[in-house]
Amino acid sequence: MNIGMVTSYIIAGMLLLGIAMMNINVQSSTAELTISQMVREHMVNITEILNDDVPNMGYHVDRTTADVSSTGNRILLEADSSKISFYRNLTDDASRTPDLITWELKQDTVFTGNPGIKTLTRSVQFQSTGTPDENDIQLGVTRFQIRYYDTVGEPLGNNMPTPLTAAQLQDVEQIYIVMEVQSREPVLQRATGDGRFVRTVWEKRFTPMNLQ
């Protein structure tokens, strides 16, 4: 076997290895992009409901604020770092008693693939009928943190300590929510190893009109 043949075999081997590595990288990148789109879609699905619920808290009908005599005319019933309960009329029916909406991140484990994923619950207590309706959102939420502010425009770090007392509930003017959604399974960069979860973070400070 001449030296040219040997050299070409070595280089060909390197080329094949290079092609294999490149193929893995391209596939990994494409998989990550696809999963990130799925994760972001999950995030959008959740934030659409939040973007309807939170700005409309305290809504009754004809631009009046929810009058909930049994709770001292409060809009917020409970405000903690991962749980919030408030009243709003879900319809334009003036005769309807405003319903109690609760968002809460439960401290459970939903998927073994990603132990950080927890159940985010949106429950509606229909005040007219007293019937509760609980909706478990298991779309990869790993963080759902809420902060409360008693002045509009306060720096993010100047939030009220949680949980809020009954007196503090009436002082809330702004609500900041940060939520993180992760993929159920990790994206692997190599054939071995743990890989990493694709994540997306959404955060927003709300200024509900009825809290002003």
Partner: protein, 171 residues
């Protein structure tokens, strides 16, 4: 050349492979850029909506803040177009009490995704074509511009402008 022709062929293959590799790298880079842009643009929208929502919660004009009655002249009684912006004693965001106090206000907002530069402009607009005018009207427009050093266009940061038109009577 006997014995070296294989080497030449292999070198040719390496050149072809290099070209494919550069294309693959370019694709991976484009994927990463798309991924990061999407994440940051989501933050841009949140910040813009946050400022607009906050401004909407304030009075339409300084003369309508805690006023027992509407101004005698509408829209002539509203703040002159040249005087829009913060009023006396309203140096910081927590002091703002009307919609146009945000005019000329700018800040850097720190988020999970890094720092974003936010600047705001508020002006009167015509009630028929919604173009900027220099006299008071019952319509004000807020333009929130958000920039991030990681969202670039050419050599500079890309500008994202979110707008909202507010009507005095629709408060």
């Amino acid at each position: 050349m006997i014995g070296y022709s294989e080497v030449l062929q292999t070198m040719a293959a390496m050149i072809i492979f290099s070209m494919i590799l550069m294309n693959a790298n370019s694709m991976i880079h484009r994927n990463s850029t798309l991924h990061i842009d999407g994440e940051l643009e989501q933050e841009v929208i949140s910040l813009g909506q946050e400022i607009i929502e906050e401004a909407r919660s304030k009075s339409y004009d300084n003369v309508t803040v805690n006023a027992s009655a509407p101004p005698a002249l509408i829209p002539g009684g509203f703040t002159a177009a040249g005087n829009l912006g913060v009023d006396s004693g309203e140096s910081i965001r927590t002091n703002f009490n009307d919609f146009d106090d945000y005019d000329g206000w700018s800040t850097t907002m720190t988020t999970t995704h890094g720092d974003f530069d936010v600047s705001v402009e508020v002006f009167y607009v015509d009630d028929t074509n919604y173009q900027k005018i220099t006299s008071p009207s019952t319509f004000k427009k807020i333009e929130v511009t958000v920039q991030s050093e990681f969202l670039r266009e050419g050599n500079g940061p890309r500008e994202y402008v979110l707008e909202f038109i507010r009507n005095y009577y629709a408060d």
